[in-house]
């Protein structure tokens, strides 16, 4: 290399290094910004939502008074006033309270769930009738919010949802150790409710589970079969090109369009029930299908032709080539695609709004055609509610949803790593 060439190269070298440094810094900056946003999001979410996993309970000495719940000798589960048992127990702690207004305020400290809990206890153990028992009963959401610091007791009484008298009672309960935050089991065992302290995600979770089940059962085999046909058997011509382009387009169609399609085809035309996980699952299958087909085709394409030739050369039929060699080798890729498609489906809410899964549903669905809602829709519903106590539940439900999404993606990664074929 001559002197002048060497000079030119080294002159350029400094510039190249500078460019590289700038590029690296830009990349680092972009990554940092992304991570900061993610951290802020998680801190905010967990800060807001984690309190929903604990719930305020009141400790009361409840007398299962036969005169109230079993006036005719046997317990009247339908019409007996179980709330009265709880009310009487609370009144026993504050005998000085009298008059309709003050008593109503006192009763408002308890959740309507208190009566249900006492009824369930009696159903489980009929011997309790006539006995007195110490029970932790759910407090109303106002008490809960006060306990969690979401209600400012120092502002004017007319501006808060808790009266001064109620504040005093709450104070008294707390001093005697009768008010405590416990693990909020109801959040995981209850369906939706108008009362925030009773609202849980069980119904939405089960609804989402049924839908994903339908999606998996439909979209995975259909998607894999379509991918195998397109890759291994279909002739390459204008038609297959057209199909390919359309599948790719389908993957990019806004999800709400699939909801409209589901409404028109499954509900209006096929007369399937509204709000049912079956229809939701069908719609989500349509949504997931292109993702699975594309991922499966990529996985099939990645199987080296030399393996196909080896099998063909030994006299394997094309079916045998596919099922003995191509399928097993591309299965990890197919499953990864399926899981990614499913996790997308799990997070979808827009198409479900179209098919009526946005209704207020208290009961946990027992089957594919029961009215149900889904986790993201439940989040949407709660986020829309005015009560302060629904805000923490919204965040908590988001945490649960994200937890499931992360779990599914983790499974996809592990699956890929585990079954990856080294050539």
């Amino acid at each position: 290399m001559s002197e002048s060439t060497r000079k030119k190269v080294s002159a350029g070298l400094a510039r190249r290094r500078r460019k590289e440094r700038v590029f690296r810094m830009t990349g680092l900056l972009a990554t940092t910004v992304g991570i900061v946003f993610l951290v802020v999001f998680f801190v905010d979410l967990i800060g807001k939502g984690s309190s929903a996993f604990r719930q305020t309970f009141v400790n009361l000495e409840v007398n299962f008074d036969a005169a109230i719940v079993a006036p005719d000798g046997s317990v009247d589960l339908q019409y007996a006033d179980f709330d009265a048992l709880a009310r009487n127990a609370l009144r026993g702690l504050f005998p000085e309270v009298s008059g309709r207004g003050p008593l109503r305020e006192l009763n408002q400290l308890l959740s309507v769930g208190a009566g249900y809990q006492l009824r369930d206890m009696l159903v489980e153990n009929p011997d309790l009738l006539g006995m007195t028992q110490s029970v932790w009963l759910p407090a109303s959401s106002n008490v809960d919010m006060l306990q969690k610091g979401n209600i400012d007791a120092s502002i004017d009484a007319s501006l808060r949802t808790i009266s001064d008298a109620q504040l005093a009672w709450i104070d008294a309960l707390q001093r005697t150790g009768r008010l405590e935050l416990h693990w909020n089991r109801a959040f995981f065992t209850n369906g939706d409710s108008r009362e925030p302290e009773l609202a849980g995600i069980r119904g939405a979770l089960v609804g989402s589970f049924y839908m994903l089940l339908v999606t998996l059962v439909l979209a995975l085999p259909i998607g894999v079969a379509a991918a195998i046909y397109l890759e291994e058997f279909a002739p390459r011509n204008r038609w297959s090109d057209l199909i390919e382009v359309n599948i790719n387009n389908l993957a990019a169609v806004p999800s709400i369009v699939f909801g409209l399609l589901g409404l028109a085809v499954f509900i209006n035309w096929a007369a399937l029930p509204r709000s049912a996980p079956l229809v939701g699952g069908l719609v989500l299958s349509l949504l997931t299908l292109p993702v699975i087909i594309i991922a499966s085709r990529a996985a099939i394409k990645a199987v080296p032709p030399s393996i196909r030739n080896a099998a063909l050369g030994l006299g394997a039929s094309r079916m045998q080539v596919v099922f003995h060699h191509v399928m097993p080798l591309s299965l990890p890729g197919m499953l990864t695609g399926a899981i990614i498609g499913m996790s997308r489906a799990l997070g979808e809410s827009a198409p479900l709004l179209m098919i009526g899964m946005v209704a207020f549903i208290v009961d946990v669905p027992a089957g594919l055609s029961d009215p149900a809602t889904a986790l993201p829709v439940q989040i949407y519903l709660w986020a829309d509610s005015p009560e302060r106590a629904f805000a923490e539940r919204t965040s908590a439900a988001i945490m649960v949803l994200l937890g499931f999404l992360m779990l599914m993606n983790l499974v996809a990664v592990v699956l890929r790593k585990r079954m990856e074929q080294k050539w």
């Binding site: 030399s306 030739n309 080896a310 063909l312 050369g313 030994l314 006299g315 003995h324 080798l329």
Partner: protein, 280 residues
């Protein structure tokens, strides 16, 4: 510019008149495969031009020629592997021990059990060594029970000269073997189906000289039982293993003759140019 075209035609060796007709002897004393007027087209690309060739029983015939002259394509005609290439179209007449193998009625699956193939790059299945060899017998139902299958696997590995090296790791993946071992595994896999003809497409070009020598030794032994058609880029290899040599050029079969005649006294100028290293 017709002038320049004409001139180019004179100087270039691929002038059609020069390679249109095969010189030497395409006949075999005891033919097993008879190919007549075979033409292969890939779309508009006329890759094999009117090739006729007889392949003898238990004969080793080497196909030589520059890259892209159609050796692999012709080889694939012999077990219908061109079927899976969508643009490929084959015309002509090929018989295997009297059966027409180009006819639509013939199931290529049955044909490929009779005509095995070994590829350039060793391509064992990502399965165990045992399963690699057992795959063919399994899909064709050649073994009635496990003992018979074991027997087939062992004899095939033995004949491929691999048994000693792998006897105590039959359930390890075939992809974990060395390149030469993998290629012998592929040969074992092919002979496990008990074919009549073995096609080999440059079986040693991805191997080192020692592995190559082992495969060549193997070919001597296999030639006692099978007809072997081998594509090779190595003139030495062709000279060592084959009884006859066929020289292809631009899709035409230029010259076929006994190996020593081709290498000592080629009759066609193109053959001579090739074996003396002037084209290739």
């Amino acid at each position: 510019m017709p002038d320049r075209m004409a001139k180019a035609n004179v100087t270039l060796p691929e002038q059609p008149s020069e390679i249109g007709k095969t010189v030497g002897n395409i006949r075999s004393a005891n033919p097993y495969i008879v190919a007549e007027n075979v033409n292969v087209y890939y779309g508009d690309n006329h890759a094999i031009r009117n090739v006729s060739l007889e392949i003898g029983t238990k004969e080793v015939i080497a196909l030589i020629g520059p890259s892209g002259c159609g050796k692999s394509t012709f080889l694939r005609c012999l077990n219908r592997m061109n079927d899976s290439i969508e643009s490929a179209r084959v015309t002509g007449h090929i018989t295997l021990a009297g059966t027409d193998i180009c006819s639509k009625e013939l199931d290529p699956v049955a044909l490929r059990a009779r005509v095995g193939i070994v590829f350039q790059k060793p391509n064992p299945f990502p399965k165990s060594i045992y399963d690699n060899v057992a795959y063919g017998p399994r899909i064709h139902g050649l073994a009635a029970n496990r003992a018979e299958l074991d027997n087939i696997v062992h004899t095939s590995l033995e004949r491929a000269g691999l048994l000693k090296e792998v006897i105590d790791r039959l359930d390890e993946p075939g992809t974990g073997l060395s390149g030469g071992q993998q290629q012998r595994l592929c040969i074992a896999r092919t002979i496990a189906v008990d074919p009549e003809v073995i096609l080999m497409d440059e079986p040693c070009s991805a191997l080192d000289p020692i592995a190559t020598a082992r495969i060549e030794d193997l070919m001597y032994e296999l030639a006692e039982d099978y007809s072997i058609v081998i594509v090779t880029h190595s003139m030495q290899q062709a000279a060592r293993v084959s009884q006859r040599v066929a020289y292809f050029h631009l899709g035409s079969l230029v010259e076929v003759d006994e190996t020593n005649k081709i290498f000592t006294n080629p009759r066609h100028r193109l053959t001579e140019d090739y074996i003396t290293g002037r084209i290739g």
